[in-house]
Assembly symmetry: C2
Homo-oligomer: 422 residues x 2
């Protein structure tokens, strides 16, 4: 991640050391330009607002405020753990995917971003090693960053022993494995059942924590449903309470991101500690939103997931087909079974950030350069495309424009003689 370029003196010299590790998200900054007229955005991992069930939320908020006693409770302080009926709903939801748990295993958070942040605060000491995919979710890197971790990359042929040796060589220990097993942000990759089992084994061997980010799990458009790592871990350990996985869930990609309702599911004892961290962070998540989210989930969760799968599947197919049609040689991309993202590897030498500048100025399209998704050793010839917001016709137009630009970048690279080293 690039450090932000905040200038000036003022209070800057009073900042804590960790402040130097807090960087701006390129994605969040990008959100600000997305209101340009006519711009076709493949940038943010933003759900299509046409999929929000506005009527259900209208009914839910009206219901939360209908009877005086319920209204008084919905507008009042509430417990740090979260609204019990919602925790019950989530426990049942987790059980449906094979994670047998109770409301005591559930803490409500302000989106899964806060879930990740609280876990980082509770577990990461400066210099601890985190194992992640590369690329991985930028927001997790940001959430972990203030604690000063180091990173090691999960790979097919890297064993627990190798990870341990690398950490020890750096005077560190492996503290946690962070991953998005289904249709990962940004790669679109999904871990196979065998890979999930391998992660559970590796964590047990390393004596470390698993942070499973299930943000996109509900959005599957193809392939076979796979159990969450949390389910495999609980089976191995005998129970969720005996396990070592903290599962981070959210309603942001299925019902609405704006209410900021997510959760952590994990061993009861750890949940009590995380509840203390939550209490110190913001006392509790918004009461009325928990009440409303519970009502909407009860009313239409499965329907909304089905609608989202239908819509996004069409868009994913459109994007993959358009890339097949228009891509120049030397460009590669993933074919995700779900989620919102396709990850593109550009021909060697083509820089994602320079391409974005041209894309916005010359083609009125936007995406996220891939660089920001790497904890270390960023690959500049990568980018992330989201297919969630544009309809198939705009996806076709956008991919054609993007591929034309890439082609022209490649041609420009060929025209310039190699720089002569001084």
């Amino acid at each position: 991640m690039q450090p932000s370029t905040l200038s000036g003196s003022g209070l800057s010299d009073l900042c804590a050391q960790r402040a130097s590790r807090m960087a701006a998200s390129e994605i969040r900054e990008l959100l600000k330009i997305l209101e340009r007229p006519g711009l076709i955005s493949f940038a943010g991992g933003i759900p299509d607002p046409a999929l929000f069930d506005v009527e259900a939320f209208r009914t839910a908020y009206a219901g939360a405020l209908a009877r005086p006693e319920a209204a008084a409770a919905a507008l009042q302080y509430s417990t740090s753990e979260g609204y019990l009926p919602l925790r019950r709903w989530i426990a049942a939801h987790m059980a449906r995917s094979g994670v047998d748990c109770t409301p005591d295993n559930i803490l409500i958070t302000s989106g899964s971003q806060q879930a990740i942040e609280l876990i980082g605060k509770l577990f990461i000491d400066e210099g601890d090693t985190l194992l992640t995919a590369a690329p991985t979710y930028l927001g997790a890197l940001q959430a972990f960053a203030p604690n000063g971790p180091r990173y090691d990359t999960l790979g097919d042929n890297v064993t627990a022993a190798v990870h341990r040796a690398r950490a020890e060589a750096a005077g560190s220990r492996v503290k946690l494995i962070y991953l998005v097993p289904d249709f990962a942000n940004p790669s679109g990759d999904t871990l196979s059942l065998a890979e999930r089992a391998r992660i559970v084994d590796m964590a047990a061997e390393l004596g470390c924590l698993i942070v499973e980010d299930g943000a996109y799990t509900a959005l599957r458009y193809g392939g076979e449903e796979l159990p969450p790592i949390a389910a495999l871990d609980a089976r191995r350990a005998g129970s969720v309470d005996a396990g070592r996985t903290l599962y981070c869930g959210t309603f942001s990609k299925t019902l609405s991101p704006a209410l900021r309702v997510g959760w952590i599911c994990g061993p009861r004892e750890t949940m009590q500690r995380l509840t203390l961290a939550k209490q110190a962070a913001d006392l509790h998540s918004a009461t009325i939103n928990q009440v409303a989210m519970h009502a909407v989930a009860e009313a239409c969760y499965d329907d909304r997931v089905a609608a989202a799968r239908h819509q996004y599947r069409i868009r994913r197919d459109a994007m993959l087909a358009a890339l097949d049609r228009h891509a120049p040689p030397g460009m590669d991309w993933t074919r995700p079974d779900g989620g919102l993202f396709v990850w593109v590897t550009l021909p060697p030498g083509v820089d994602g950030r320079r391409l974005l500048k041209r894309a916005i100025e010359e083609a009125n399209i936007a995406f996220v350069p891939g660089r920001a998704f790497f904890a270390e050793e960023p690959q500049d010839n990568t980018l992330r495309l989201s297919f969630s917001l544009a309809d198939p016709a705009r996806i076709e137009t956008g991919m054609e424009r993007l591929c034309d630009l890439i082609r022209s970048e490649v041609a420009a690279l060929r025209a310039v003689p190699d720089a002569v080293p001084a």
Copy 2:
């Protein structure tokens, strides 16, 4: 603060060092017993739900979700800085109290608890010295704790030079002054204009930050309105941007705590850094709640403040009168000009925690033992009373029972011969 007593092994040995500093709030734990039938609670600093304008919130949420385009925006991700119309409203609100600022000086947070937590994260290194009142707001101690600060107590006769010398003797520096200038939680104390000016001078001399917690400022029942420290600091520095004060505000005590909408007002450059911390913490505060809070504030902020002042003034008066009537000799208490709290110093030897146990079991009343409000050297013979929830008749009953219990504790202490040192 007492460390929480979480037992078991499991993932505990993986916790970060800072985890040992995260303690449970006695107040939040108390909230759980407050549903006992007939219990008269003077415990939580909880607004009276009868003061919530349910109709205004009903209208606001319905309005936020009425037109399709507005509904789509209210249910969608939004910027980390917060909803611009709400930031404009708050900037105008701050200007009314003498803090001349723009929306660029305002960051929306999930309650003022998050405001304090983000400031701690951005500024406090381990071992930094914080100057606070003793007692002070427990939630601030909890929010700061993970960063590992040390404390020094603000006092009438303690100069900047003395604070600096004490910090230097401990190998530390004074990083920030935290205070609640109006009707402080828990003491009920209000800083005079001269004391506010002295804080501004002291911060300038020490080159440190001021964190001004204005949670109760709107709830004044007597005495003269005083400018926030932020206003005095901006006047001295020439502008908010050139100042060194971060003002934390909230709607929790005036409109509703459940939406988790608060704010920080401070120098623009620092707000940009705090926005990064906010982004990493939870991306943004709930969009729909910011839209709804803006609508309610526009519709009835002044009316709700007037209603709250009227109601709470009656209760404060009832509590002070009941204490005057029933208190045994040797008991002392504050006479706040506003807010929600009266701070009680018990006769020597009477322990607030033991008294609470008896109060709940024998008298069906609750309060918060004062011990938890001290960063260091807790005073066990103290307690905090909130007058926000009970009507005058129940306040009278509760204070009579409380004073009877204290009288019986004093009598019991007299009956026991002094322990003979071994």
